[in-house]
Each structure stands twice: as structure tokens, then as C-alpha cells.
């Protein structure tokens, strides 16, 4: 394994050219992830990236590390399994708003409450891109698409609120085009002791003409500049997360007392290391049945 100082973010780049549309927010999202991984002292050989399905799911292909591109909505269970078996490995899960908040919503709630020490990056473009423009769980209620000609007519999922209600210990939001801030927030998620959740505004330039770069640039409020916001204060977090009028970036909430799953459950062994035969004291397992 290369030493920490040798690693550059380009080491996390694969030689495969992304097939994302030119201008897609996922480019910025991925660059921030790679830089954050390198900056936090990881290298491709000790990193495992798990991706879901959709445009976002392609991310594992364009990055270089151990990776699995699984089935729709199940990135978090896979990532959880990887981290359980290998507490020594840096695990990052990535997916989109459909993958994470629709088909995978059940897993999201439980991954959050399990508080496994990994990070989860959701590329939220508020639309289904790869299937060519249907409403997603975060689409606005009046957002007209091929499957919702009059808009979904139902309120969008608030992923941050869902995370907070599920007992999240780290909740953040970033904007793919604000490169430095985005990287900084991902880094914090990686460094957090527990489940580091980041919802990333990652605009779809092909199918979403409402939640655009310009829209986020003009409307985003950075919590870093809000001196009144205390990220360790649950009530503060609730206030910004449930604020229906503004879009925020930054770390909304971080539980100072977060104890990751591994510490709570004493899961510390490298489970890939097993003996050539049954464990030495395995006959004890038989004796139990006397």
C-alpha cells in the first residue's frame, strides 16, 4: 500500500472516460469525492466504493478503487456488509435521489440508525436522468415530467429531515459546483465517527430546467457563514432542515457523542483472515450439545 503522502487524487481516477452528459453535476461531485479521499489519507487499495443504479451509479466505473456497482437501491446494505467484514477499509457509498430515497428509502433509514462508520454521498438532481426525465422523490410537487404532466402533486421527500428523524449523527448538504466547499464537506463526512451523510445538489443539465446551477448559485445559503448555527445543536439542525424557504449547504448536524456501530458492537476483526481448517477450539461447539 502506498504511503499517505504519495497519494494524489488522480490515483482515484480510472482511465475510463465518463459518459455523463457534458456539464452534469456528477463530474464535480466525483472530483470532490476523490480529492476528499486522498486528502483524508486513503488510497485506492484500502478504499471500497459502493454504487447504486442510475447516472450516479456509474461513479464506481470512473473511480479507481475496490468497488461494486450493485442493484438499484441496495448500495447501503452492500457498503454496510463491506465495512462489517473489514473495519480497516474506508467505505463510501454513492447513489442518486431515486436510488437512495425511493427504492432504497428503507435501507437509508436503517443505515442511518445503524451508524456504521462510512460515508454516503447522494447525487440529488431531483429527477430520474438515466431513464430520461421522470419525477424523482425529491422533485418539486409542480415539476412537470413525462410521467407527471401536472407535476407529482405530492411534497418532495426531505432527505435531511428523514435522516434527522432516523437518528443520524452527521447530516450535510453540498453543491457539486462549489468545488472547495463540496470537497471540504465530503472530507468531514469521511472523518466523522459514524455514518456521514451528504446530500449533494448535482444538477441534471438535460432534463431538469428548474433546479439548475444558476438556481442553486443564487439561492444557496452557506451555514459556514451563519455564526448562529451550531452544528452540534439538534434544535438548530431541525430549524435549518425544516426551513421550507431556503436551501442550505454545509454541515447541518453532527452528534458530538456519536459512537459508531463497530465500537458499540465490538466489531473490530478483519473477517477475511480465517484459518485453514476449523478454529482450534471448534469441538467446544459440539460439546455444547451434550
Amino acid at each position: 500500500m502506498s504511503s499517505q503522502s504519495d497519494v494524489r487524487f488522480t490515483d482515484f481516477k480510472s482511465d475510463k472516460q465518463p459518459t455523463w452528459c457534458p456539464g452534469c453535476g456528477d463530474f464535480g461531485t466525483m472530483n470532490g469525492m476523490m480529492k476528499a479521499l486522498a486528502e483524508t489519507g486513503n488510497d485506492p487499495d484500502n478504499t471500497f466504493v459502493v454504487a447504486g443504479i442510475g447516472c450516479s451509479g456509474k461513479i464506481g466505473t470512473y473511480m479507481h478503487s475496490y468497488a461494486l456497482h450493485g442493484v438499484h437501491g441496495r448500495a447501503l446494505p452492500v457498503a454496510t456488509g463491506v465495512k462489517m467484514a473489514r473495519p480497516d477499509i474506508e467505505v463510501m457509498a454513492a447513489g442518486g435521489d431515486g436510488d437512495g430515497y425511493s427504492i432504497g428509502a428503507g435501507h437509508f433509514v436503517h443505515a442511518v440508525r445503524r451508524n456504521v462508520d462510512m460515508s454516503y454521498v447522494v447525487m440529488d438532481n431531483r429527477i430520474y436522468g438515466l431513464t430520461k426525465g421522470q419525477a424523482s422523490p425529491t422533485s418539486r410537487s409542480d415539476f412537470e415530467t413525462s410521467t407527471t404532466p401536472e407535476g407529482p402533486q405530492q411534497p418532495p421527500v426531505n432527505p435531511l429531515a428523514l435522516a434527522l428523524a432516523s437518528g443520524a449523527t452527521f447530516i450535510a448538504q453540498s453543491f457539486a459546483s462549489d468545488a472547495l466547499r463540496h470537497q471540504e464537506i465530503i472530507q468531514e463526512a469521511i472523518e466523522h465517527d459514524g455514518f456521514g451523510f451528504v446530500n449533494v445538489f448535482s444538477p441534471c443539465v438535460t432534463f431538469n430546467d428548474v433546479d439548475t446551477y444558476d438556481y442553486f448559485r443564487d439561492s444557496l445559503v452557506d451555514l459556514k457563514e451563519d455564526e448562529d448555527h451550531d452544528r452540534h445543536d439538534y434544535e438548530d439542525a431541525k430549524e435549518v432542515i425544516l426551513d421550507g424557504d431556503k436551501e442550505f449547504q454545509g454541515v447541518m448536524y453532527q452528534d458530538e457523542n456519536s459512537v459508531p456501530y463497530h465500537e458499540q458492537h465490538g466489531v473490530t476483526e478483519d473477517m477475511s483472515d480465517i484459518p485453514d481448517g476449523a478454529p482450534e477450539d471448534a469441538m467446544d461447539l459440539v460439546r455444547e450439545f451434550y
Binding site: 500500500m1 502506498s2 480510472s14 482511465d15 475510463k16 485506492p44 487499495d45 484500502n46 478504499t47 471500497f48 459502493v50 464506481g60 466505473t61 479507481h64 478503487s65 475496490y66 468497488a67 461494486l68 456497482h69 450493485g70 442493484v71 441496495r74 447501503l76 446494505p77 452492500v78 457498503a79 454496510t80 456488509g81 463491506v82 465495512k83 462489517m84 467484514a85 473489514r86 480497516d88 477499509i89 428503507g106 435501507h107 433509514v109 436503517h110 458492537h265 465490538g266 466489531v267 476483526e269 473477517m271 477475511s272 480465517i274 484459518p275 485453514d276 481448517g277 476449523a278 478454529p279 471448534a282 469441538m283 461447539l285 459440539v286 460439546r287 450439545f289 451434550y290
Partner: protein, 583 residues
């Protein structure tokens, strides 16, 4: 064969039926007697009829029969439910002081024991079942000391006071029968010096998993698979492993897959609807070439069917389940001890061929306890083969000209090298999408064909490299051939004795591998008659056999929810042999 005794305790769920039966089974096992248990239970927590049955002999036994010699009845329904099995001379222990008046058939001996009040004398009404066990000891001439040992094992953790009270309860039951009844049941239970272990199929699977190096288990509670998870929880940690109760089966199989990709030996287990939910991921396991053991403890379906009843209806699901075409192995243990050994084999197959292995058990095996010589589970004989898991020296061989690891390299045997996280230069991506040798998505026709062929070739390699044998019983030269899979083996083996008595010559082949499976064409050709026995309505394995040999076979199918009994099976076989083969 030595005389065997059939004993049961029955009442309402919540009456402690299960623990009462288990304590007596352990006492018999301690006394060096073979034990084979079965359970009737309903899918509810309290109320409803439930029973725990024990068949015991000094000889080895591995099935149930239609006979009941002693019944501890806590409710009238217990007597009614078992009337068919009770016979002239059967003894029924009941509590006449309770509000119900036991309706005991005339030809049977009612043994009225004030279970509740004697239990109260010993320290609490809760011990009335233990009073009944003491009474049963007296009736069968069984030394109550063995019961004491079982009580110590059961209640030792709760303190000596509890143990002593229970022993006292047993004594009071014994003494009551001694003083008030003069029964001559001719059933004195012989004891031996053997030290047996007593366990069920799910415990054997769990023990096999730990022995095989399984360190990560993810599952979702479902009858009758849950007890595998319960066994592993609290034990696997001692070997550095962990169990996660996932939010659903979709999560469970994906978590297990994650654990396996990270290099752990990993497993999930489920039943019924749970295996349906997991189906989505079967293909991902196969295309990402992840070694994973997926255990299906079958129960009566379809839909929620009869969750606490026996069936072997998921064979098609495990053989063919999943969209597209999935290389896989289907391993089917045929007895409780084989649940242990086949689990170990399943892990080896999974890692050697990097593909899903279905370990298919059934409810009858999962809840049935049986006694074994401890060295049946000889841990020194356990061999672990991790297949083509590369080490630091080997990884270089598998890099392409640009230094990228060829995780899906197109090898002659179809099995690619496997690198796990942490290994320098081994980093690679795997995906459920069709991919090239590097694991990258492709739709190129020649690469698609190459990768499909490569994955399927593993099965061909395994067919050649492994022994896909079968287990055989009875007369090798018999004209009549019976083929079976799963837990029916025990009943068939014993049915041979009944058939022999009736002059019917039979050869039994019991198949522990359904895919790949042994070639039985010669055996079927040599037989005049072939019958396939299985616990389902349509004959899923019979269909497979017919496909192999291109001729019709006879079928014995049972789908009542109850396992085959040896005597019943002997009768059915005799009857079936006289019938025409269906066109």
C-alpha cells in the same frame, strides 16, 4: 431392532411444551439413548395446539412413526389430535384437578397426576410440566437421575434454588405415580454408556458455518430459518465474526454480498417469501463473481402458505430463480449431520467457483433434533479451500499492460483470480452489468459471449473436479429404485425395514446435490420401477429426473404440511409399485 418408545407432550403454545420436550430429550440422550424429535406447532405465540414428540431407542433412529406410547396431555385437544397414533395400552398423563375432564379412550391408561398442585408444593405452578416428566420417568422405569442432569443443564444458569425446585417437582411426580398406580407398560428404558450430542438441522448449519470460517451473517427473521441466526448470534463473535439483523431480506443478501466481497466468508439464510425477495440479487452475486452461501430452509408455500409446516417446494426457485441465466450450485443436505458437512462444502464451493451456492434444507430438518456420536462432527476433518484468492506475490500475474487487475479474467476453467480490499494493485470494480475482464461495463457482443461462457464454464469445471455423488441404502441390485432428496432420507431408510419384512426389495438413492447432480441414468435404466419421493405436490425433483433420462417416473408426493413417516412411506411405496406408470 430394539424396542423404541414414542413419547409426546402437548398443550397450548405458551405452555412451555417445547422446553419440556427438550429437557426430556436431553435426559434420554444423557442416558445414552438415541433420540429423534418432531414438533407440531402453529404460527402463533400463545394458544393453539402444539406438541413436542420424542422417539427414543438404544438403536439409531432417524425418522418418526405413527405411534405414541406415552402422552403428557395438558389439554383435551392434545388427546384428540393424537388419537390416530395412540394405541391400546398407551398411557396418558393428565391433571384431573384442572377444569377440563380428560376424555381418555377406554383401552388406554389414564394417569391422573395433580401436576399443578404438586408443582406448587415444589415451589411454583410453572413446574407442572416437570412434575409430568417425573411421572413419565416412573411409568417408563427411567432413572430420574438423568432428568436431574438435564434440569441442571437447563436451569443451571438460573441458580441452584431453581434447579433444586425442579428436581423436587420431578420427584413429586415420580412418587405420585409410584404410590397411586401400578402400571405395567413393559417399556423399561434401557440405558447405555454412550455420550451423545443432541441437535437440530439449523444448529448443525450454524455450527458448520462457524467451522467453515463463516464470519459474517446477515439475515431477517423468518420461520423456520431464524434459529440459524439465533445460533450464530452470541457464538460467531467468539471467532471474530458478527451477525446483523437486517431490515429486510433484500438488505440481508446485499449485506452478505458486501461482506463476501470484502473477503469474509459470508452467509444469509431465509425461507419462503424471503427467498423471493432475495432473487433480485442472485444475478448480481453471479455476475460480480462473489462467493456467497444462500440458505433456504423450505416451508409450506406459496405466499405465506403454512409457515410452520413442512414442504420441499422451493427446488425450482433455487434451481431457476432470477432473471437471465445464473450459474449456481444447489446443495441439499439429506440429514441433520449432513446439514453440518454440506454447509462446509457450500462455503468451499462458493469460494472455489466464486458464484452463489444455495444450501437447501427444509422445516422438518430444521426443527428436528437427533442424537449423534460427537465425532460425527469431527472438526479436525474440516478443510477450508479459498480457491483463487490471490496473495501479494500472485497479483502481478493478473495485471494488464496498464497495471489494472483483471478480476474477471477469461480463464480456461472459468474461475478468475480474486483480490480483496487492502491488497496492493488488486483494486477493481465489479458490477451486475455485463462487463469485460476488468469489470467494466460493455455491450460488445464478443465480450458478452466470452463472459457468459466464462461464468458458465465454472459449473462445467466443477462438474469435472468435484464429486457429485449420492447416498445409497437398501439392496443395490433391487428392481425397485426410490430416489429422494432432503429430509425424506431418514424415513426412507427406516421404511426399508418394513418393506423387507413384506418381501419388497428396494434400493434407495438419496441426492445431496441437485445442481450439478449425479447422473442417475444407469441406475434408472437398471431398475424396473423408479419412484421419486418428495414433499411437494407437483414433483419438482421428479421433473428434473425425467428431463435427465427422458422417461416417466412414478412419484410419491406429500404436501399435507407434515413430513413422511417411515411406516406410512413403506405402505405408499408398496401401493405405488403395483400401479401403472403414468403416460
Amino acid at each position: 431392532m430394539a424396542e423404541d418408545l414414542n413419547w409426546a407432550v402437548g398443550g397450548e403454545a405458551g405452555d412451555g411444551i417445547d422446553s419440556t420436550g427438550k429437557i426430556f430429550a436431553q435426559a434420554l440422550s444423557r442416558a445414552g439413548r438415541h433420540v429423534f424429535t418432531s414438533k407440531d406447532f402453529a404460527s402463533r405465540i400463545r394458544g393453539g395446539y402444539t406438541a413436542y414428540k420424542i422417539r427414543t431407542s438404544v438403536d439409531n433412529i432417524q425418522s418418526v412413526v405413527d405411534r405414541l406410547d406415552i402422552l403428557v396431555a395438558l389439554t383435551q385437544r392434545t388427546i384428540d389430535e393424537n388419537l390416530d397414533e395412540l394405541h391400546e395400552g398407551s398411557a396418558i398423563i393428565y391433571d384431573g384437578e384442572r377444569s377440563w375432564e380428560a376424555d381418555i379412550p377406554e383401552e388406554m391408561s389414564g394417569v391422573d397426576v395433580p401436576l399443578k398442585s404438586l408443582a406448587e408444593d415444589a415451589g411454583g405452578a410453572i413446574m407442572r410440566n416437570i412434575v409430568a416428566l417425573g411421572a413419565a420417568c416412573e411409568i417408563t422405569g427411567f432413572d430420574v437421575e438423568y432428568l436431574d442432569e438435564a434440569l441442571e443443564k437447563r436451569f443451571g444458569g438460573k441458580g441452584s434454588k431453581i434447579v433444586e425446585n425442579n428436581k423436587e417437582a420431578a420427584r413429586l411426580g415420580q412418587e405420585y405415580v409410584e404410590e397411586n398406580y401400578d402400571l405395567d407398560l413393559d417399556s423399561d428404558l434401557e440405558t447405555t454408556d454412550n455420550d451423545y450430542v443432541l441437535l437440530n438441522g439449523n444448529e448443525a448449519i450454524g455450527m458448520g458455518a462457524i467451522a467453515a470460517g463463516c464470519r459474517f451473517y446477515a439475515g431477517y427473521p423468518i420461520t423456520p430459518a431464524t434459529s440459524i441466526m439465533e445460533y450464530l448470534t452470541g457464538r460467531i463473535e467468539e471467532y471474530g465474526g458478527h451477525v446483523v439483523q437486517a431490515e429486510d431480506e433484500l438488505s440481508a443478501i446485499n449485506m452478505a454480498l458486501g461482506g463476501a466481497r470484502a473477503g469474509a466468508r459470508a452467509m444469509t439464510a431465509t425461507s419462503g417469501a424471503g427467498i423471493d425477495l432475495m432473487t433480485e440479487t442472485f444475478g448480481l452475486v453471479a455476475t460480480s463473481e462473489t462467493p456467497l452461501v444462500i440458505t433456504d430452509v423450505q416451508r409450506s408455500g406459496p405466499s405465506t402458505g403454512m409457515p410452520t409446516k413442512q414442504e420441499q417446494g422451493d427446488l425450482n426457485m433455487t434451481l431457476y430463480g432470477g432473471h437471465g441465466e445464473i450459474p449456481r450450485f444447489v446443495v441439499t443436505p439429506t440429514s441433520i449431520d449432513e446439514c453440518f458437512w454440506k454447509t462446509i462444502e457450500a462455503f468451499n464451493l462458493a469460494e472455489k467457483y466464486q458464484t452463489p451456492v444455495f444450501l437447501v434444507s427444509d422445516l422438518a430438518m430444521s426443527v428436528t433434533e437427533q442424537t449423534f456420536e460427537p465425532d460425527t462432527f469431527d472438526m479436525d476433518a474440516v478443510e477450508i479451500d479459498r480457491g483463487k484468492l490471490v496473495d501479494e506475490d500472485e497479483v502481478e500475474e493478473w495485471l494488464d499492460s496498464q497495471g489494472r487487475f483483471r478480476a474477471h479474467a477469461n480463464t480456461e476453467d472459468g474461475v478468475s483470480p480474486r483480490a480483496i480490499p487492502g491488497m496492493t494493485d488488486g483494486a477493481h470494480m465489479s458490477t451486475g452489468l455485463e462487463h469485460n475482464e476488468l469489470g467494466r461495463r460493455t455491450e460488445e457482443q464478443d465480450v458478452r459471449v466470452q463472459q457468459v461462457d466464462k461464468r458458465n464454464r465454472k459449473v462445467e469445471t466443477a462438474k469435472e473436479q468435484e464429486e457429485w455423488d449420492y447416498r445409497e441404502f437398501g439392496d443395490e441390485d433391487a428392481d425397485n429404485l426410490i430416489i429422494s432428496w432432503g429430509s425424506n432420507e431418514g424415513a426412507l431408510v427406516e421404511a426399508l425395514d418394513y418393506l423387507e419384512d413384506d418381501g419388497v426389495d428396494v434400493r434407495v438413492i438419496s441426492v445431496p446435490y441437485i445442481f450439478p447432480r449425479p447422473d442417475l441414468s444407469d441406475e434408472i435404466a437398471a431398475a424396473e420401477e423408479t419412484i421419486v419421493v418428495e414433499c411437494n405436490a407437483t414433483g419438482q425433483f421428479a421433473d428434473v429426473i425425467e428431463h435427465d433420462v427422458l422417461e416417466r417416473v412414478k412419484r410419491i408426493n406429500k404436501y399435507t404440511g407434515v413430513r413422511f413417516k417411515a411406516d406410512e412411506l413403506a405402505e405408499e411405496i408398496t401401493e405405488k409399485l403395483s400401479q401403472e406408470v403414468p403416460a
